[in-house]
Homo-oligomer: 647 residues x 2
């Protein structure tokens, strides 16, 4: 395997994008202060989380019972991770003191041997590491380690990192194949990728080995998780695990032998991210092949056009090839964040830009859809078709919310969106020893050193408007700039310092040689709106088309197009006009306008007739589509991605 791509230092990237800038700003302005209140139970209209209180009890500063879900500690860790990235991004000066205080508290909550988990320390000290299926101890530790690494990278302060190391050292002692060690592994993967991060900042190979152990041990026979379940006989934390299946947590066979994206979608993505990391670190072709198989199965058969994954609302999981229902799916925001994580790592170990097509798809559609423009409401679940009144409680639709929700007590997605936006730069730029890679066309600045050259990059993208990107590079010496040519580029024109460059991408990247001094690069990807269809295996999308422009999936909303969106049909070759952005949306992204027809059955009309003869009534209608990621920012209403085609 060749040398891998690395991330740039987040401290040296600034987001200036008209669309993403809006969301990134919300992290410091809204998400972090709001979550701080939640962690401290300071919101009057919200269920208490007990999060900080649990740490105080564990630290001996307060008395009481530990409350909240078993993995509630991760809320604080994800908050700290967001804070760290925000500090790195130059917007968190006022946060560092608060973070340091909380880190002190975490330190006090840690047991002398390094153990750190408020649930088990306080409520069940004799049950540590006995319920890996449900207990989330290793998952919680993983989020702690990720936060500690991020905080160290942002501030250079070692206290939190040392807490994490002490905990990781304990985990290395407890789990393994040696005498007296438990041959367990997490029910919810996360620790593995965190240990790789910890290895990368500390250079301590034991952490890398431990991550590898967890991946290698998983799914072996005799099956550790199965034995644990049978020993206990009943679920301890989650009654819905009464009928647990090992595929749910990808523990049905060793990951290196797996071929398909299965089970709980977030678990799969976190596991695969670690597998890709390990494949890269260890030059492990078998592991890389397994990653490739799972990635291909996912992107070729089990992913929504919005980059969403997890077709089953029940258990938030993958189902089977081509089973992609549009209204009952889960498509968790966190799972699409996982797609970004896995894709980034696959690109890093292969040098192949095409992985970023999917990172982009997930980011521009499902991940951003997870949060509203104001930055205070969230979707966990991201359907492609919504009729609000059908989203009823206690039914098969109870997971689908027709409007974004306030931050929940058990909240993985909001802080996950927070940390993803706060560290967005990692998905835009990468580098190797010869130069910089541009993976996303999000307006921003970056600077870095490549060998002896210092490169300062300024990217101004109007991709979503006119398909163009301007890049200025100030370089102190020679270097390469590798620009991803995205899948939707119909033709790519590239002009470097006034000279037209012939596009000959390698592994999806166009390499440009940068000379010392100022370089001006002008890209025109020729992006126009287009109707997309699905493979005929996808029964839900047969005879239908979805509208995309560049990476953005568009949708119809009730606001512009009225109710009963399922009555709408379009012609296969309907021409699309780009019109002014919808007023209340952000990023100056055009609305797409086109003609369609509404077809209604007059033969079964009125309040009291459910079925009747077919007597179609047709009406020509003007339709306006807005970016899917910004749906439901203007009140509750129907939404539809896949349009019926007149055939």
């Amino acid at each position: 395997m060749k040398k891998h791509l690395k991330q740039l230092d987040l401290k040296r990237i600034r987001i200036t994008d008209s669309l993403f800038g809006e969301y990134v700003n919300k992290v410091s302005e809204k998400i972090i202060p709001h979550q701080w209140k939640i962690l401290n139970d300071q919101l009057e209209d919200s269920e208490p989380t007990y999060c900080i209180r649990n740490f105080r009890i564990a630290a001996g500063e307060e008395k009481g019972e530990r409350k909240g879900v078993v993995f509630q500690d991760t809320d604080l860790y994800k908050w700290l991770e967001s804070v760290a990235y925000t500090i790195a991004g130059g917007r968190g000066e006022n946060l560092e003191e608060l973070a340091d205080e909380v880190i002190d508290l975490i330190g006090k909550a840690q047991e002398p041997d390094g153990y750190l988990n408020t649930y088990f320390s306080i409520n069940a000290p004799t049950k540590k590491w006995t319920n890996l299926v449900e207990g989330h101890e290793l998952y919680t530790a993983g989020h702690m380690i990720e936060a500690a690494v991020a905080y160290y990278q942002a501030t250079g302060k070692e206290k939190f990192l040392n807490i994490a190391r002490k905990n990781a050292d304990l985990i290395c002692r407890v789990f393994g194949t040696g005498e007296g060690q438990k041959r367990g592994y997490p029910g919810h993967q996360e620790i593995e990728l965190a240990l790789v991060k910890l290895y990368r900042v500390t250079g301590e190979r034991a952490y890398l080995h431990q991550a590898e152990y967890f991946i290698r041990e998983r799914g072996r026979n005799p099956n550790y998780l199965q034995a644990e379940i049978e020993g206990r006989g009943h679920p301890e934390f989650f009654p819905e695990f009464e009928r647990y299946d090992l595929e749910y947590s990808q523990a049905h066979k060793p990951p290196v032998e797996q071929d398909e994206a299965v089970g709980h979608a977030v678990r799969e993505m976190y596991m695969c991210s670690a597998m890709a990391d390990l494949a890269g670190e260890n030059d492990d072709q078998q592991l890389k092949d397994a990653c490739q198989r799972i990635w291909n199965n996912m992107t070729d058969r089990r992913m929504y056009i919005t980059g969403g994954i997890g077709s089953s609302g029940f258990r938030e999981r993958f189902t089977t090839d081509y089973d992609l229902p549009n209204s009952t799916n889960y498509s968790e925001t966190c799972a699409s964040i996982g797609v970004m994580m896995f894709g980034q790592r696959m690109a890093a170990i292969t040098g192949d830009a095409s992985y970023y097509d999917y990172v982009e798809k997930a980011l521009y559609n499902t991940v951003i859809a997870g949060i509203n423009i104001a930055g205070d409401r969230y979707f966990y679940v991201n359907p492609l078709e919504v009729v609000p009144e059908f989203c009823t409680e206690h039914t098969y639709m109870e997971h689908v919310k027709p409007v974004r929700q306030k931050w929940f007590g058990v909240a993985c997605c909001p802080p996950n969106v927070g940390r993803t936006l706060a560290s967005l730069g990692q998905y835009i730029y990468a580098e190797d020893e010869y130069g910089v890679y541009i993976n996303q066309f999000i307006s921003s600045t970056a600077d870095t050193e490549v060998r002896e050259s210092r490169l300062k990059i300024k990217m101004n993208s109007t991709l979503l408007q006119d398909g163009k990107v301007q890049i200025e590079v100030q370089s102190s010496g020679p270097g390469n700039l590798n620009i991803r040519i995205p899948w939707y580029s119909e033709k790519c024109e590239c002009v470097q310092n006034g000279i037209s460059i012939e596009i000959q991408p390698e592994k999806g990247y166009q390499r440009l040689s940068i000379s010392p001094g100022d370089t001006y690069i002008s890209l025109d990807f020729h992006v126009s709106p287009r109707w997309m269809g699905a493979n005929n295996g996808v029964r839900a999308d047969a005879g239908k088309a979805a509208l995309m422009k560049g990476p953005l999936v568009y949708c119809l909303e009730e606001k512009e197009n009225g109710r009963y969106l399922s009555e709408i049909f379009i012609e296969e070759n309907t021409s699309i006009e780009e019109t002014a952005p919808a007023e209340e949306l952000v990023g100056n992204v055009p609305t797409l306008s086109y003609k369609g027809i509404r077809v209604r059955n007059k033969g079964a009309a009125g309040e009291n007739q459910l079925y009747g003869n077919v007597e179609l009534e047709k009406e020509e209608v003007s339709l306006q589509a807005v970016p899917y990621c910004m749906w439901n920012n203007r009140g509750e209403g129907e939404m539809l991605v896949w349009h019926k085609l007149r055939v």
Copy 2:
């Protein structure tokens, strides 16, 4: 309120129908002997039910722990009910001895005070009547009483009836508003309609009052079930009841105030059946109005074209108006049996034939679909669209089976289908003091006395073939014959003894005066295949059509039409040809043949492309549809009811 319709004595009805005869025969040939083995744990490849064994333990004939689900006793009661109807139908001579023995065993299992429930008698004697939400004690008692009444009616033997009375007397003492009585009511309704039946054969008004009490007390504040749940704090029998909602069991408000079909579909139907009975018995207009509102809401907004109800696979329940997904629904076979029960009673108390349109729809489609032609495989769940590979375990589709299943351990539907088929005559004929009503056009014979006249009826129906029905009546005196004019009759021609009768139906019935002697009636309903559309509220069916002929819904199966049925489109006015019945199906019902087109997207073809440009490829295809009720009798494959329309 006027005089009500009554059922004819089942002993005097014989089914001779070419379609239904096939199924009815299976009750004595297959269902009853097979279930007897199941009850006795004599099937090697099946999980034991412990049913008879539990009774033996309760009777003191065996030692051991009581096993099986909490309502396992009902299996035996439903078996006995089927046996009783089969005896009444003249096919159960060899069963009576066995039934008498089992009834003796039941008698021994009954406690001295009348209590009868093997779970609570053996395993939890101190917990009787403490878990009405989940414990199914009153539900189980209800099935026992229904069986006892049926057995008494079939054989005239009183032993089982006396067991039932003793049990009912206990229930009357335990539950009520008096001093020392519990103000409870069942979590799963069933006892109410059973008590009405018991009242009708015994004349004991206490049973009618007790049924009324259960309906009146239900859903009152303070809420008994809610208090019970809160007192216990956690579910005892069904972990999925962790988040119980009172609408699930229609206990959110008093039934008489309810307006919509909500919650668990079978519970709703059983409750409404009792409500209709009580409305009739007590001339209670308020209760009748409530029944009417719930019925209308169900049939106008919440029912499949197949007569299926319960849109939500999760919790087997109703959802909301027009939410009728075709592939994820529950549409339990038992719930459609409930539609037949409720509809029959509504017709009885209103004299309105239109209720039988829905009884017929449920019977001819969903109920018969519940069993295979061979009589040994069953569907609980009846979707309108199936892609077998999408029916995956542990996902949102786990309730949907692409092939009928063997009799399950927890088996409500198979014995419910058994007792419904064995008593099919009750849905065909009814009577009042002036004559006989013909509600279904199922070939059969019947005789009864109306005032001083004896009427012998012979009906030969070729409704499903040519829309015609021949009826011969031999009458010893004058009487009326009231013939339901079904909704799908495009024009009705009626000839009585060679004289054409002008059709002027009243409440859906055409009344014919029968004179003493032989009367020959010839009906031609002019039934042709037709494309049906849904109300535009039903998003799942927008732009689609379903094919019906008479009461039968037709469907496409993979066998004749290939895979990827979702690619098929038809013209709104596609002409339909009636062709030879499919060879392996029964009842001599024609296949319907027509043209369509298959539309495939070439722009996203092959193994590795999930989405691509829209490039439609069209191919004309010949399609053949078979009756929905007989789908999946010729191997596993896709199935589709709602066809896409070219608009």
